[in-house]
């Protein structure tokens, strides 16, 4: 996973560079200031749901800016929410199981199902400003990003080694100190890797929700998603391609400028006793570390922190040691718990009544239609998974067994997985219409676009992890090709394959909403499927159908997870783990 940057590296050693970097940082701050000013003026202006989209390339930087800001804000919100949620779940044994189950269900709901309620709520909440609509879209992106972050933080907290938390307790760390010196560092690596997946999910959602129709209301916000969609609608191929180009450019730039330095930096949080030889490196991080300004945030942070520590040390809680078994004590906060339980119960009952009145509007024919759709989508998702597995396994293994090739291909696969498949849909659709293919088969292709990269990426990693002495054994004993695959390669990549398939399956379900239904120049094309039902119901503003279709989808996803993926996962963890 390492990229070689001999050129950039040699530049790093030149002493005159840090000054240029300082200038760069200053320039960047200035740009940021004007950016905030611009966004504020736009947000606080009067609301205009449909902003006309210009197809001129000169408008692209501004649109890109808007989209990036939306994703950035949504990401920061997700991070804050994920940390709060994970923390609450991990330290409150009473509600822990419930919170994890809720997360599991929310994760299975496709982003677009959230669209109507979230946007309507936000517009109603903040009337009179563009901010309302914008927040609606940001919240949608948020729902595409937040769940896996929350899972990651929660499971990191749960796996902190016992003696580490005992040490923090016997030395009477405050919750504040424990958070910054134990919990956050311990969770950092998981959060960084999941952030990459999350932001990719955010881009996917952004492409869908900057421009949409809901009943008789149209929404069209300035941004890359709208740009690409409206270019596709009007058949403007040049604009379409340049829009996609900008998206790819941003994704690659994010990878190089943000994720790579972050991964290299988070290396220091690896919980290992011995330094590993295989370290991630990033020239950008090197440059930043050499900049004179780079110590500034640290210094500011320290000066802010000191009074907090002094204050906390004086508090009563810091004087005594809290026994660890009190954490599992279910009697604490009983009153609060019951109050919460009653509130949740009332809310749930109300929601249930509302849902039932809504669902009564659904006729028997609708119901049959939905079930048929569910079946069709189920088949399509699994076909997409199967096809991706069929080509990525041989390709990934071939690449993984060739270290030189793997070093080049793997980062590319990783970036490809981050490029939102939804940006390519319009192009693919145009191609499909040209050759006269229907959406029934076409939607499988569309799903493939998003899912295959995750699997490829993981299969390569799996093939690379097979020890070379095991491969030599197969050569020594002249295993046939069949034996080599069934005895070594498939079992060896199995855990990685499952990880990739689980992610891909989630992505495919999410993609079905978009892949089975599309606006094109000539009108609407769609096929039978649950995703198509959700999309067309959103267009028509038909809430009962959206609700039932969403329930069906999340029911199927959760069932599949429980019955198939989790079992395979356990098998991967126990039987197919390559140890030592």
């Amino acid at each position: 996973m390492k990229l070689q940057h001999p050129f950039a590296r040699s530049l790093v050693t030149v002493r005159s560079w840090p000054f240029v970097i300082d200038l760069g940082v200053a320039f960047f701050s200035l740009a940021l200031f004007f950016g905030v000013l611009h966004i504020a003026r736009y947000w606080l202006g009067t609301p205009s749901p449909v902003v006309p989209i210009s197809h001129s390339p000169s408008a692209l930087p501004l649109y890109a800016f808007y989209s990036v800001v939306r994703i950035g804000i949504a990401y920061l919100l997700s991070l804050a929410f994920a940390i709060a949620y994970g923390y609450t779940a991990a330290y409150n044994p009473r509600i822990e199981a419930w919170m994890v189950a809720v997360l599991d269900i929310l994760q299975s709901i496709p982003v677009l199902s959230f669209l109507p309620p979230v946007v309507l709520a936000m517009v109603a909440l903040i009337p009179g400003h563009q901010l309302g609509i914008e927040l609606g879209v940001i919240m949608l992106i948020f729902t595409g990003q937040v769940w896996n972050l929350a899972f990651s933080f929660y499971s990191s907290l749960k796996s902190i080694p016992r003696e580490m938390s005992e040490a923090s307790r016997i030395y009477r760390y405050s919750a504040w100190q424990r958070f910054w010196q134990l919990e956050m560092p311990y969770a950092a690596i998981g959060l960084v890797w999941n952030s990459i997946v999350s932001v990719a999910g955010g881009w996917f959602a952004l492409m869908l929700c900057e421009m949409f129709t809901m009943g008789d209301r149209n929404f069209q916000l300035p941004g890359l998603g709208s740009y690409i969609q409206s270019a596709a609608d009007s058949g403007d191929v040049t604009a379409l391609l340049s829009g996609i180009g900008v998206v790819i450019l941003i994704v690659v730039a994010t990878d190089q400028l943000l994720w790579r330095p972050l991964i290299a930096w988070s290396d220091k949080f690896k919980f290992e006793q011995v330094e590993s030889a295989d370290r991630a490196d990033s020239p950008i991080l090197e440059l930043l570390r050499r900049s004179r300004l780079s110590s500034l945030p640290g210094r500011i942070w320290t000066s802010l922190e000191e009074p907090i520590y002094r204050h906390l040390a004086r508090s009563r809680a810091a004087q005594v040691i809290r026994p660890i078994d009190d954490d599992a004590d279910k009697s604490k906060g009983a009153l609060f718990f019951w109050a919460l339980a009653v509130a949740v119960l009332i809310a749930a009952a109300w929601a249930l009544v509302q849902a039932i009145t809504l669902l009564r509007a659904i006729s028997f024919a609708d119901m049959r239609h939905l079930l048929a759709g569910a079946f069709a989508t189920f088949l399509r998702v699994n076909a997409a998974l199967l096809i991706s597995a069929l080509w990525t396994i041989p390709a990934g293994v071939a690449i993984g067994f060739n270290p030189k090739l793997a070093r080049i291909v793997q980062p590319v696969a990783q970036v490809m997985a981050s490029v939102p498949a939804s940006a390519f849909y319009p192009v693919l659709l145009m191609g499909l219409l040209q050759i006269g293919g229907g959406l029934g088969i076409g939607s499988i292709l569309l799903m493939l676009l998003g899912t295959q990269w995750y699997i490829l990426f993981n299969v390569i990693a799996g093939a690379m992890s097979i020890p070379s002495d095991l491969r030599e054994v197969t050569r020594l004993f002249r295993f046939t090709r069949w034996q080599r695959w069934t005895k070594l390669i498939l079992p060896g990549i199995f855990p990685y394959l499952i990880t990739g398939m689980v992610t891909a399956s989630g992505g495919a379900w999410n993609a079905s909403v978009m892949a089975e239904y599309a606006h094109v120049k000539t009108g609407i094309i769609q096929t039978v499927g649950l995703g198509a039902e959700i999309s067309s119901a959103t267009d028509a503003g038909s809430f009962p159908i959206i609700l039932l279709a969403t329930i069906l989808i999340s029911l199927m996803v959760v069932t599949m997870n429980r019955l198939v993926w989790r079992r395979l996962y356990r098998l991967a963890e126990t039987r197919f783990r390559l140890e030592g």
Binding site: E163, Y171, E306, Y309, I324, L571
Partner: protein
């Protein structure tokens, strides 16, 4: 000193305990009426001026005891007092040195040592100065900017000591601090610790060390407490009168080590009376239950020990055996226990003597050994017998793991139940009594066809 914790250093008169435990117990309630007793009611005092070693085999609750005395874990019954005040309300000043070091890998050596002072609100300059002084004391001068993973194990434990001592604890607790280190490093660190202690370089007034290494205890301690297990209880508590520095080779030293071995291997005396709960119901004690605790030893280890004993004319001091094998008691005792349980060995006065069946076992070749092991195991081990019987009574000859876990749950903690079954699987497989399918979590009887199938499987 601005440090909040040392505001009220209560000056105890000589002889008064710093920490006093009164009838502390630890048990886990089970859904049924049973509860699993980990430590039975125990009194213990830590008095100023002594190094106290807590010695015991695994499963005797040494670490649990340490955690109750430090306030990290709340006793299920009884009370721990810090200078006469209940520990949960007292401002106590103790440190722990951990077996796994428990250093924060993302902090530098200096930051690791500073962190406890930061928690007490010590200002940055003083924090740095005190930490650097402490690093100097433990011999880590110049390493302050390094990260723990760049250091060797011994160096890392030095950081652990510096972090523990920088808060000037009144009692320094150590949880098997040297057991993750190699022999030479451990020896080196031990003598440096003794030096710090005898020179009064550290303000610590008492040291409490948990260990399973008998020599270590005799080398360091002024007083030794030996714990027995099932449930944990104090077997003996005595003062070590040897002058420091102690010589491992001296007669007095080896006699003391031998004595402790005898205590550890002597069969437990039956409990005086069955304890009752407040409402008069009897608490079931593990010693009165029908499953014997399987020692976690491998059949291969048993065979090895017996063969070694045979070479020594069938009888030897357990202490000498451990020495020959460079084993610590945690490694050797389970093997001795297992051999004893199977009737291959007898322990008398700290000596292990091979029995007739043991000698036959040691003299046989592998297939015969398996046969003998199978006989011994089915006659002596109830759990194995029950597994075989359950498998034979089922028409498909398979039984899920949970079935046996449920049986064991009555008597052992969840964790111990799992370990018991794990050991049973190892023994059962060796004896070819049954097999276990790890992916389906089921026990099954190996059939002839299956054996052929696995033989064919290799060259399909």
């Amino acid at each position: 000193m601005t440090e909040a914790a040392t505001l009220t250093p209560i000056q105890a008169p000589a002889g008064e305990a710093i920490i006093r435990a009164e009838k502390i117990e630890k048990y886990y309630a089970q859904p049924s009426e049973n509860r699993i007793q980990v430590i039975s009611a125990t009194d213990l005092e830590i008095i100023p001026g002594e190094i106290l070693a807590l010695l015991g085999p695994s499963g005797s609750g040494k670490s649990t005891m340490l955690r109750m005395l430090t306030g990290l874990s709340r006793p299920s019954a009884g009370q721990v007092y810090w200078h006469g005040k209940p520990i949960a309300e007292a401002q106590i000043n103790v440190s722990i040195v951990f077996q796994s070091f428990a250093l924060f890998p993302w902090l530098t050596v200096l930051e690791n040592v500073e962190a406890p002072l930061q928690a007490r609100g010590v200002p940055p300059e003083e924090r740095r100065e005190r930490s650097l002084r402490m690093l100097d004391t433990v011999g880590l001068d110049g390493f302050q900017a390094a990260y723990p993973k760049e250091l060797s194990g011994g160096m890392r434990q030095r950081v652990g000591f510096a972090r523990a001592l920088v808060v000037e604890p009144e009692v320094l607790f150590m949880d098997e601090p040297f057991s993750a280190l190699d022999v030479l490093t451990a020896e080196n660190l031990r003598s440096e610790l003794l030096e710090l202690w005898s020179n009064k370089t550290m303000p610590t007034r008492a040291v409490f060390i948990v260990t399973h290494n008998i020599e270590e205890a005799v080398l360091l301690a002024d007083r030794i407490i030996v714990l027995g297990r099932n449930p944990g209880h104090i077997r003996t508590d005595f003062r070590v009168q040897l002058p420091q520095p102690r010589d491992r080779k001296s007669d007095a030293f080896t006699q003391l080590v031998d004595y402790i071995y005898k205590v550890l291997t002597r069969p437990d005396v039956a409990p005086a009376e069955a304890p009752t709960q407040q409402d008069g119901r009897r608490i079931r004690d593990q010693r009165q239950m029908h499953y014997q605790m399987l020692p976690h030893a491998r059949p291969g280890g048993v065979a090895g020990l017996l063969e070694l004993l045979l070479d020594k004319a069938g009888r030897d001091d357990i202490y000498r055996l451990a020495d020959d094998l460079a084993f610590e008691i945690d490694d050797l005792l389970p093997i001795v226990d297992a051999a004893q349980l199977l009737g291959f060995l007898k322990v008398e006065e700290g000596d292990a003597a091979i029995t007739e069946s043991g000698a036959e076992f040691a003299n046989s070749e592998i297939l015969r050994q398996k046969e003998l092991f199978r006989e011994a195991a089915t006659t002596n081990v109830l759990l194995l017998r029950q597994i075989v019987r359950a498998l034979e009574s089922k028409s498909d000859h398979t039984v899920p793991e949970e079935f046996f876990l449920d049986m064991l749950d009555e008597q052992f903690s969840d964790e111990e139940s799992l370990r018991q079954l794990e050991t049973a699987v190892t023994w059962g497989r060796y004896a070819e009594l049954f097999d276990f399918d790890a992916s389906r979590r089921r026990f099954f009887l190996p059939t002839d066809e299956e054996e052929e199938a696995t033989a064919d499987g290799g060259d399909e």
